[in-house]
C-alpha cells in the first residue's frame, strides 16, 4: 500500500508502471486491477478554467488518506493499493488523483477503487480554488459520486 502527495505534475500511467515493477512478487496473484484517474478539466459550471490551486492540510491529509485505504483493505481482500494526489498549482489536463487497487477478482477491485475515491472526495482535506474567466473562486462542494 502506498500513499503519496505530489507538489509537481505526475504521469499516472508511468507511476503505475513503476509501482508494478516494485511489486513483481504479486505478478500472477492478482487477476484484477481497477484504476481511477481524476484529471483537471478546462471548464467548470460552463466557465473556462485557466489554473487551479489545490490546498491541503499537511499531516491530516496524509493521515486521512492512509486511514481510508486501510478501511478499504479491511473491507475487501486487496493485494495492493496505490493513491497519489496532487497539491499546489495545476493546469487543465493535469492529473489530480490516481487510485489503483489490485486483487484476485474483479468484484472487490471495482468496489474498493470506487469506495476509496468516494471516501477521498468526502473526507480527505483538500480544497480547490479555480481561476476562472470571471475571477478566482473556491469550489464549494464536490459533485455526488
Amino acid at each position: 500500500m502506498k500513499i503519496e502527495l505530489r507538489a509537481e505534475p505526475f504521469d499516472p500511467l508511468a507511476e503505475l508502471q513503476r509501482h508494478q515493477v516494485e511489486r513483481l512478487e504479486l505478478k500472477g496473484r492478482y487477476g484484477a486491477t481497477a484504476i481511477f484517474i481524476g484529471t483537471m478539466r478546462d471548464y467548470s459550471d460552463r466557465l473556462s478554467i485557466g489554473r487551479m490551486m489545490l490546498e491541503h492540510y499537511p499531516g491530516m491529509t496524509e493521515r486521512q488518506l492512509r486511514k481510508l485505504v486501510e478501511i478499504a483493505s479491511q473491507q475487501w481482500p486487496l493485494l495492493d493499493a496505490l493513491v497519489i494526489h496532487r497539491v499546489g498549482e495545476l493546469r487543465p489536463s493535469d492529473p489530480i488523483v490516481l487510485v489503483a487497487v489490485w486483487s484476485a477478482h474483479r468484484a472487490e477491485a471495482f468496489a474498493a477503487c470506487r469506495s476509496i475515491m468516494e471516501e477521498l472526495k468526502s473526507k480527505a482535506p483538500f480544497w480547490k480554488r479555480e481561476d476562472t474567466a470571471a475571477g478566482p473562486r473556491w469550489v464549494e462542494r464536490n459533485t455526488p459520486g
Binding site: 492540510y57 491530516m60 494526489h85 475515491m117 472526495k121 480527505a124 483538500f126 480544497w127 480554488r129 464549494e140
Partner: protein
C-alpha cells in the same frame, strides 16, 4: 491551557489569517474555542472541525496543547 487553531481555504480567506493560539479553561469544547476567538462570527453551518488531525464534533472537549482546525467542506479528488 493553550490550544493551537488552524483555518483553511475559503474560511481562512474570510477570517484573514491561517491560525490562532488561544488560552482557554479546561473542558472547553471545539464550539467554545470558536466562540472565544470569533464572538461576532457565527460558525458557518457546513464547517468541519478536526482535533489533532482527526475529524471531531463541535461538542468534543479539547486538551492542553491540542491542534484544532476549522475548514469548509473538502473538494479534493
Amino acid at each position: 491551557m493553550t490550544v493551537y487553531v488552524k483555518y483553511f481555504a475559503s474560511l481562512r480567506d474570510r477570517l484573514g489569517r491561517a491560525g490562532d493560539q488561544v488560552s482557554v479553561a479546561e473542558t472547553t469544547t471545539v464550539a467554545e474555542i470558536w466562540a472565544t476567538l470569533w464572538p461576532e462570527i457565527a460558525l458557518p453551518s457546513n464547517t468541519l472541525a478536526a482535533v489533532n488531525m482527526e475529524y471531531a464534533s463541535l461538542q468534543q472537549s479539547v486538551r492542553d496543547g491540542d491542534e484544532v482546525a476549522f475548514f469548509p467542506p473538502v473538494t479534493g479528488g
